[in-house]
Symmetry: C2
Subunit: 469 residues, 2 copies
């Protein structure tokens, strides 16, 4: 059990889970740079593997660019440097020498990659160029840090693509959104796709689509973002290609970024007072298998449980056999805390009855599976757990959204949906008055008729706002 | 074809292969920090996957520690800091602030991990602690850089273990050596295990075992090393445990490191003037499948070739179907340069005869496999390629070793085996006189009777020396 309650004190509960489930250790001597301990890293790597699968399948090539970026390259795109220069780490010395030019530790990799893209791309035949990398990035956070959610060393996925024109880049944004839908389903995470305001878009982007989920304290967490850069970077970095008619043109670019916040989101969205609940699709162990011994049947039970382990592993499930010399109750407690979605138990009576007993972490439901039906039975259960987790999370996210049409009695723990004419003045005034942050307008058009909550103008697309993590 | 010749000009040939096979791009604006381009990164990731498999199977837990290390932690072990302070990168500023304490970018992770190990380990029940990570490390190289072999950002594997006593740590060294044997076999790389001299051991180690292979220019390349630290780090970092009798003791530690030099080694050891030759065990594509069309049979050939792709992929092989609209000759050239171990071709005549034609990259041997025998036939060929590559490489390494018993007429392009009494004075004098570097004494005892090449004393264990990369 967590010592704190998710509903009453989300912040404490979250830290408690991170520690008790063994996800990360925040006692490292630099604040906000945490150690990925084995179990947390396993979860992250499962998510990384699935991300790789998706991006490989859509013909992106994985690359790995250097960590350090010369200041002169970093500064080429003016908005970008303005957005980042207060939050990057600077390398100024190497060995006993002062460097001729300062180096930035990447906060994101545009400025590392784009000088190389300019060398790689010559003609329209080199396009589209679709690459991605999974690396750590660094931001000098001044706000309070929190494991996975606000850290200074960030485990990061970033795809970078180059295209012949605006429309082809736009198609990439749409492909990214399809990929996101599959990833979110795998992790059972609801999300909204909102086109960020002009003052909140990524430094250098033409437009930014934020990917937000809502956390139990009513705040939203940005899990990732997708950007259309148009030619905003290709111009300063001179990334051009020769088209079919021999004309030289700037490429249009997109990026898609997601981070370890996916882990933070899955803790917050799915966990309960018994601990973590990990979606089967990315659980390091989908099944924990626990033998229940009596004095006289240890050999028989161990043989049967090993056979079950083999059958399930051969069928492709990720199985943990916990045959430590400890009470079953202590094992239940530990694996519930660690959020393994399905527990199977096998004792003498189960063997007599040709069944395995199961316990679902999501619903606490118990039952048995006939041994003859083991593999399809387990598959059905895991699929159902996944579906129930996703539906429940979506239902909760829906309940956390509220339509408002005036500034009075605004619910502080909801995502707000309201009319906004779109002008900067009304937007800033709304934010200043309410303390909420405008997350943007829906990427996919929503049915809406209303008036700007500030100036009263008629509007036919809503805006969303929330307190953010 | 490479434009240079491996035998005559190894250095040029090497750079030529790296570029033409698309392994890495050294035009990044910081010297020695290269871009992992897609094909090179695929090779590295195959090697990483196999390393993970081995260390997971021997109960090591994967972790990921922060990149940055506070200067005060870094400086705790005196030999270690002395060994590294001239070659680390220093972070001194973050955002617009100067940091209170300078941060080192990890050159290796002892000093990041050990303050945490001191928190994690309480009792003998926490031991052994066996962890590893795969990360990039950073060294400010002042010598000439060379892709994969001497770089400033180094893709790195490091395992770190803690044990109750010297002997248990020693057992870990032996396990590491067994793991190494399997990894080397997978990459078909010969190696020697030599206990480094006192003046050449890892800064802070009790002893260091160097893992060297020999390159075509006769120089040796250190691919990795295994260290017994005894309590040299656990004392300054205060990593203690309570033993069964309640007594507090320092842990004994080991580490095992390997780097992207494995890629450098495989290029140098296996490549030829047609390009790279990648061992089947870690080849991103083990098989390239090329359809040979005639005017009237395109549909039939494509259908058959896709069927073959499916059969081989389902059987677990890594297959690349190259169905681009290009001449077969151009494809042969490209995949030979990229070192794919087995090429399969399918044309109308092959289909008539119920066979697939093959070409072995290692021996240039051609032949056919009966379609009915496809999977076992391909498996046999790949196994044979692997075995032949390993045998050939070992044979060459043997030929590159020479016994000497005087300082006259020393062959400059060989690994030297000779008598050395073991004293520092004779060792340094040998190195100064010959320009060779003493690599150390065999970790596993070798039959030897001779005299110290410097002082003439009788010795019963040889030393090895070489020019190093």
């Amino acid at each position: 059990m967590t010592t704190t309650n998710k509903e009453d004190n989300f912040a404490e509960w979250y830290l408690d889970i991170v520690e008790k489930a063994g996800l990360s250790d925040k006692r490292y001597p630099i604040k906000g740079m945490n150690v990925w301990t084995p179990y947390g890293w396993r979860i992250m790597r499962q998510i990384d593997s699935y991300i790789r699968e998706e991006f490989d399948a859509t013909n992106h090539d994985e690359v790995c660019f250097p960590l350090l970026i010369p200041e002169s390259q970093f500064a080429k795109e003016k908005e970008h440097i303005k957005g980042f220069d207060s939050e990057v780490y600077w390398v100024t010395h190497a060995g006993l020498d002062e460097l001729d030019e300062r180096l930035v530790i990447r906060p994101t990799s545009e400025t590392a990659m784009y000088p190389m893209f300019a060398l790689w791309i010559r003609s329209h035949q080199d396009l589209p160029l679709k690459t991605y990398q999974i690396v750590n990035t660094f931001r000098y956070e001044t706000k309070q840090t929190r494991p996975f959610i606000r850290v200074r060393e960030i485990h990061f996925f970033e795809s970078h693509t180059c295209h012949t024109d605006y429309d082809d880049a736009q198609k990439q944004v749409d492909e990214d959104i399809e990929i996101l839908a599959r990833i979110a389903k795998k992790i059972c995470l609801p999300y909204t796709l909102l086109v960020r305001t002009e003052w909140d878009k990524f430094p250098g982007a033409y437009y930014t689509v934020g990917i937000d989920t809502s956390m139990p304290n009513g705040r939203t967490l940005q899990m990732g973002s997708i950007h259309h850069y148009k030619t905003n970077f290709s111009e300063p970095y001179e990334i051009t290609y020769e088209d079919k008619d021999g004309e030289h043109k700037f490429v249009h670019q997109t990026t898609y970024g997601m981070s370890e916040r996916l882990v933070g989101a899955l803790i917050g969205v799915h966990g309960d007072d018994q601990g973590l609940i990990i979606p089967p699709g990315i659980a390091p162990f989908q099944i924990v298998l626990i033998p229940i011994f009596k004095k006289d049947n240890q050999g028989l039970v161990m043989a049967s449980v090993k056979e079950i382990e083999k059958v399930l592993t051969d069928a492709g499930f990720r199985v943990k056999l916990d045959d430590r010399d400890d009470r079953p109750g202590a094992k239940y407690y530990e694996w519930e805390m660690k959020g393994v979605p399905l527990r199977l138990e096998l004792g003498g009576r189960d063997i007599e009855n040709n069944v395995v007993s199961f316990f679902r972490r999501d619903s606490a439901e118990k039952g048995t599976i006939a041994i003859g039906n083991l593999v399809p039975g387990v598959k059905m259960l895991l699929d159902d757990i996944s579906e129930c987790m996703f539906n429940k999370a979506n239902e909760i996210q829906k309940q956390r959204t509220a339509d408002i049409d005036s500034l009075e009695n605004i619910p502080e723990d909801k995502i707000l949906r309201f009319g906004w004419c779109g002008c900067d003045e009304c937007g800033h005034k709304f934010e200043d008055t309410t303390g909420f942050k405008i997350l943007g307008r829906p990427y996919f058009k929503e049915e809406f008729k209303g008036k700007c909550i500030m100036c009263g103008k008629d509007v036919d697309a809503p805006a969303y706002a929330a307190h953010t993590m």
